[in-house]
Every structure is written in C-alpha cells, then in structure tokens.
Symmetry: C2
Subunit: 364 residues, 2 copies
C-alpha cells in the first residue's frame, strides 16, 4: 500500500481483527442478512482489512452496503440460481445480493467444475459490490488451483481519446499457489488507480497524483494536485492504466473492456449492451493445476520464480523488489498481531450504527 | 498504429497481400517446413501485415524465423504432442516448432474442448515465437467463442523498483465476437510499449518515448529522447505498463507475472522456475458463448457496447474514439485493397533470400 493512503499513525486506532469481525457480522445481521452469509461477508471485508487493502475494507465499504440494504437496492437474503451450465461453465444470477456473498458461491461452483473437468468458468449477473476481488481468486489457491476474479459496472473510466466515462474501474484479480513463498495474488483496477483511492485521498485531504484523472474536457491531467482543484466528479473521470496514449492508456482501456465482456456480456447482464452500467456483474474462473501436472512440482517452480522476482536487484532509492501478494502477506502478519489501523471517524461510525442497530459496541 | 511507427509513405513499397503470402510460404518451405505448416505460418504473418500490426509482420519477424531454422533452434517439422489433458484442459508440447504453427493447433484443441465442455484451456511449452497473439485469439471468434492468447519468454521487462529485466514483454490477446461491428480484438504487451516497437524506432531512426525504458541504473526514464542516448540494451530495460509506481507500473508488472504463470508455470516449461527465460511458452483459451446463452443475443449486445464505445464524445484534438480491433479492421480493408507498405530494405531482403533459396522473386 502506498504511504500516501495510510491513516496517519498518530490518529489511527488499532482494532483487533476478531473484534472488527464480530462488529461487522452484527451489522450485516441487523440488515437482514442470514447468519452464515453475514459471516461470509465479514470474512471478505476482514481479508481486505487484514491485508492492508484499506480501499476495500470496512472503512470505505461497510456504510455503503448498509445504505444499499436500507434503500432496498441490495437483497439481504437473495435467491442465488444457476441460469445455465455445462461441464466447465456456469452463468449464475446473484438475486440482487451483495457480491461479497454471491461471488464466493460462484467460485465454489467454478472450483467444483475444475475438480471434475479441469476448469470452471462462471459469470455472475444481478449482484452487488464484491469487495476485494483478490479474496475470491484466493479461494481457488486454497484448492491448489489458479483463480481469476473480475468485476464490472459503474461509469468511472474514460476511454483513450474520449471525454466521458464509459466503463467501471474494472479490476482484475489473479492468484496462483506457491509452496514456501506467499501465494502470488494480483488485484488491481484497470484505471491508473483504484477509484476508492481517489475517495480516500479526498477523505484524508491528500493530493491527486499525475495521470490519475482527466481534466474537465477529458484530456489526461499529467500534473496532479489538490483534490479541490479537480472537478467534483473526478471519480467519474478516471484515466485507464497507462494514463495517456503515448504511455499505453489504450492497454488499460482495452483490458477494461475485456473485463466488461467477461463480466457483463458473458452473463447477459442488464444494461451492459447499452453501456448503462448502474448494476454490477462479475466473473470468476478456476484452473486446476492437477489437470496440467504435479501440484507439488508447480508449487516448487512458483517458489523459484517468486523468490527470483523478490531478489531482483533494486533500483536506486529502493531496497526491495516485491511481487503481487507479498506486501499484502506481510501486512497481514502485522495486522493480525497489532490490529487494523482505523481512522477515528470510522470508529465513530461504528459507535453510532451500534447505537442505532442496538448492538453492543466493543471495538475500543 | 501510431504514426510514429509507419514506414514513411514516400519510400514505402506497397506489396499485394497475395504476393507477400506466396513469397513467405516459399521461404518457410525452403527452411524445411511442410507445405501445410508453411501456409499456416504465412497466414499468421499475413494477418499481422494486413491489420497494420507491422511489429509482428514479415518485416520484423521473418528473417529471425529463418535464422532460427538455420541455426537449429527451431524444428521445421516438429512432433506436436498432448502431454496431459482433461475434459476442458490440455498441456501440449510444441516439439520445438515455431509458435506460429504450434499455437493454432493448441487453439483448435481448446475450441474442440469448449464445444464439448464449455471451455478449453491449453498451455504450450517448447515452442518458438507465435507472431501476433491476436491471430490465435481470433480463431475462437470464428467459432463464436471468446478467445485468449498469451506468450511469455525472454528478458525485457524490469519489475517495479527493480534494476534488471526479469520477464518478457508478455502480451495478452483477448477477442470476442460481435454481429455487425468488427470483433473486439485486444493484443498488447504488458510493457508500456511492444518490444518490437523499440526495434522499429531504432530502425526508422525515431526517438524513444517517455516512460518506455529505464535509465542505466533501472530508474524509469520519463523524458524519452533519441534512441542513441539510451543504453544499447534498451530492449532489455523496458518498463511495465504504467511506467512508474505512481502511474501504476506494479499493475503492468503483475499482469506480466500472470502471463508467465499461465504460459510458463502451467505448462511446466523448462527455465521458468529459475527465471531462465530463453525459451518461450504460450497459453490459449476458448470460452463457448453458447455455453452461457444465446450467441445471437450476445453478438447483438456486443454490437451495442462497441458502438457505444466508438461513439464516445472525443476529447479536444481527436475526432474519434476507438475500441481494440477497430483500427486494425479498418487498416485491413485498406491494405487488402492497396497492398502492404514495406520498407525498401525489406524488399531487398526478400530479393536476396529468394536468390539464396533459389525461389522466384515476384514482390514488385
């Protein structure tokens, strides 16, 4: 995680993961979510908060989920159904539930199909926000498989040469198991920066970086500056990964469209044919390593590659090279020991929602 | 294609595709490639030259293939074998053949499996360069499927914070069918620019752009400049898509590792466990649209999305917004009519190789 986005340590309140989990489960239950689902949803949020993926933890997301349940946008107890399936594929309907809970169910189907047929490819429509996509990809890793997870929806990303947003931030997560090395876990928006990071920068009063968003007329802003100097709708003017055509923004844009196709078009999700992306759609896949060869050998080979990558000679000004998943793994060790650093404002929110929902407040 | 890379029109020699195809097939045959394979290899090269993907057409690639056959690095008549398979997966060994010919065979297997099981996932080891990855992804589109193709190998990309190359340029190709709109066809290296474009810039005497390569010490060069001002090994100092950590280079790097895993690790290819990436490995996949729902409806929906994207309001200085595959489609219409613009130096090479191989020279 960039220093930029950390809650300043002098004001951060460190909350033990178990306490945060209990409080989160209680909030979900009070929204009408059945106990088992409440636990699952909290587990996805805890994954983000443990691993330092603060953009997708309780701070940024839980209150929007509560408001989704309250407004009726989200169904707390949805009917999850398989619309169509083959030996290695399925299209599922999330019944309007939160993606935090519908996506693990879809990934379970993908993993079962991969056990039988080598791979499982599942597209998901009619579902809400899925949290940190890496959680779902990592489910496959637990079964010695390679896992994918993507999600599409919203209007945040401006196509290369365009002046208006036409796509969501459309993250791609991909995970693969290793033996002694922490698993490879990639999870990144196909905009130059995750949308939630712009929200977080706004909340923490940090400047927006060069190449993150477009100017009012759609041209890429390559200077950055105080959030207040940008259009209020800067969350809907994000640049694709690559920022400008010269730096490769058509690649971030193209990958974003790919995510739209796998999530929205392959699931025949309403709205995606007309770029009316108010609803979300997802995609998960699992490839069984065993279908290709020895799992033990694969993991040993992965260890060799990942170790080689983190032992890359660093450039001046840096003492380490990472691979995706390594910083998150190290952060989880710290946070499991010392707690999740939350902004006091988040603690206040928990205090007030606990009073409103008449549930115990026991975070601090 | 960026203007930057075009052969200057005042010196370009326009060669009809059919003549270029005949000449290319003849060169392959003289290298010992059987007739059917020679036709297939030429078809992959013609696809690149027709679609304006000049980095992967005859100009840049054919002489390196000839030298590969001459040196014994490539087997002109390899044994292609399935090492392991399940209902929806296969690991294939290319027998040391050129990827131009081994990859379509692997994609045929993926398509057959997808017809039976919904999806087909195939990793390929022991194979040479595969040309334009988009060709192989588009094979799936011809069968009303979504297609993937990736390839890994070589040392070109420097990991974020690193000072030495550890990965290839590791392109991802992805294609999906539409009805009246040209198909979506994405094909891009996970470095900020395709390696061959640096070679092409060198050959045409054009400057290198900002954010393409690292300085000698590994720090990202964000100024660009004359190719001569960079280290001679700039092809082995390419920056990941995103160029700097602040602009998201960890995303291009992470996607590059993902490609390495799907191509090299999943195929148990020699060298990939130790980052000795002198050999290449590939990955293809096909997802049957029919396995998820109506093909006709999917294509209509794709039309709506692609039309919506190209009708995006453009930013100042641009009159159109594209989607991946659209510029290539339009270029192919032109080149099929007017011929492929080749540098006179390429014509000279064909003239001399024709004399050496004792085959007719009939390009101009």
């Amino acid at each position: 995680m960039l220093e930029h986005f950390k809650v300043p340590s002098d004001i951060a309140v460190k909350v033990p993961v178990d306490k945060l989990r209990v409080a989160t489960e209680a909030v979900f239950r009070k929204c009408g979510v059945p106990d088992k689902e409440a636990k699952l949803g909290a587990d996805v949020l805890m994954f983000a908060d443990q691993h330092g993926i603060d953009t997708h933890g309780v701070s940024n997301m839980l209150r929007s989920y509560v408001s989704g349940y309250n407004s009726g946008l989200l169904n707390p107890d949805p009917v999850f159904s398989i619309v169509k399936e083959t030996a290695s594929t399925a299209l599922v309907d999330g019944g309007g539930g939160l993606g935090l809970m519908t996506t693990p169910k879809a990934m379970e189907i993908a993993i079962e199909k991969a056990k039988e047929s080598g791979s499982g490819i599942v597209s998901i429509r009619n579902s809400g926000h899925l949290g940190a996509a890496g959680y779902h990809a990592m489910m496959a890793v637990e079964s010695d498989m390679i896992g994918w997870c993507m999600t599409a929806g919203g209007k945040s990303m401006i196509p290369t040469f365009g002046a208006e947003a036409q796509l969501g931030t459309n993250p791609i997560a991909f995970a693969a198991p290793a033996d002694k090395e922490p698993a490879f876990m990639f999870d990144a928006a196909m905009t130059s920066i995750a949308g939630n990071k712009i929200g977080l920068a706004n909340r923490l009063g940090r400047p927006l970086g060069a190449g993150w968003v477009a100017n009012e007329d759609g041209t890429p802003n390559m200077e950055g500056g105080a959030a207040s100097s940008f259009a209020a709708n800067s969350l809907r003017a994000q640049l694709p990964l690559g920022s400008t055509r010269e730096l490769g923004s058509h690649k971030g844009y193209g990958l974003g469209v790919m995510v739209d196709i796998l999530c929205g078009q392959l699931s025949f999700a309403p709205g995606f044919a007309t770029l009316d992306l108010s609803r979300r759609a997802h995609f998960v896949a699992a490839y069984s390593v065993d279908a290709f060869g020895s799992v033990a050998e694969f993991k040993r080979n992965m260890d060799g590659m990942l170790k080689g990558l983190r032992e890359t000679k660093p450039m001046p000004g840096h003492d380490r090279v990472y691979y995706a998943g390594l910083p998150e793994y190290e952060e989880a060790i710290k946070r499991n020991k010392y707690g999740v650093p939350l902004h006091p404002e988040v603690i206040d929110w928990f205090r007030s929602i606990s009073a409103e929902f008449e549930i115990p407040f026991d975070l601090v």
